[in-house]
Symmetry: C2
Subunit: 151 residues, 2 copies
DNA sequence: GACGGATCATTGAAAATGTCAACGATTGGT
DNA sequence: ACCAATCGTTGACATTTTCAATGATCCGTC
């Protein structure tokens, strides 16, 4: 679990494709997902349900459609995720403030509690994943990713 | 298709989760995949098969196991991808140099030709995806991603 | 030099995910 | 009051992921 362990550079990292942003994103994302899901298992969550719970805790009162777009998921997948969280009493649906078609996803007190623990675990994962970067580099990475996404 | 179009910042980008590296990677990766697959369609390729073809063209003589690990895929998925490319005459298998169990994936001249066109299209996609970043920022992003992955 | 455990590509099945079209309820514009 | 569009939801379908099992081959040990 030390930094050395993950510092094994595969032979193929020499290939031109190792500079393709698409591949780099895919690899880092895949590695991170494994870490995250492993860490979230103790909370009975997966990356997806954690994201929904986290947004439900944000105070932004997200509608299911907003969740779908923001998480790059199909609206029908949000239904399943919210159903599951709601069944566990972590989240509940409320009618949209101005549009009765939409449903806002909010966290229950128990959802807030679980999120507090889970988000700490995720933060630790993130730190481990970016262990090879200095704090400044990690901040730069975040900034550039945000800029690429949202200009 | 202008930069403005993709510069729409969703309301939820204010949430704390919008600073989670995991989510940023997932979103940028998802958006890039859509672009890449769209661009590769004219070559009859998808992101996965393109990656295999590209590595077959690298001169590194990758074995299927190396491809699996490098692309974060199950070995059985590599079999299917190579089967397809081989069936189209873009790639062929050769016995491992020192180990007869392993199979090296190499590109045919036709595979090389297709790869030349496809890689140009992918480069254009990448440029479009990172349009909001300066060239220096894009280079920094690549560097940080590589460092995080391979220290 | 033969044995036994490990590794490789391959197959196939099962589970999880992604994609898409259709529906009722509701909205907003004409 | 109507019509087109949007929201959440359901269900069907395709793709992808995951995993166990297999034959061939390698490597270390006796």
């Amino acid at each position: 679990m030390s930094v050395q362990d993950e510092a094994v550079v595969p032979r193929l990292a020499e290939a031109a494709i190792a500079d393709d942003v698409g591949l780099l994103l895919a690899k880092l994302h895949a590695a991170g997902s494994v870490l995250n899901n492993k860490a979230l298992a103790e909370f009975g969550l997966r990356e997806r349900s954690y994201s929904v719970l986290r947004l439900a805790c944000s105070g932004l009162e997200p509608t299911q459609r907003e969740l779908a777009e923001f998480l790059s998921l199909d609206p029908s997948q949000i239904v399943a995720l919210v159903d599951e969280l709601e069944g566990r009493g972590l989240v509940y649906r409320e009618q949209g403030r101005t549009d009765r078609r939409q449903k806002i996803v909010l966290a229950t007190p128990e959802g807030e509690r679980l999120h507090a623990g889970a988000s700490a675990a995720i933060a630790a994962c993130e730190h481990e994943q970016l262990a090879a970067l200095t704090d400044a580099e990690a901040a730069t990475l975040r900034k550039l990713l945000r800029k690429a996404l949202w200009a």
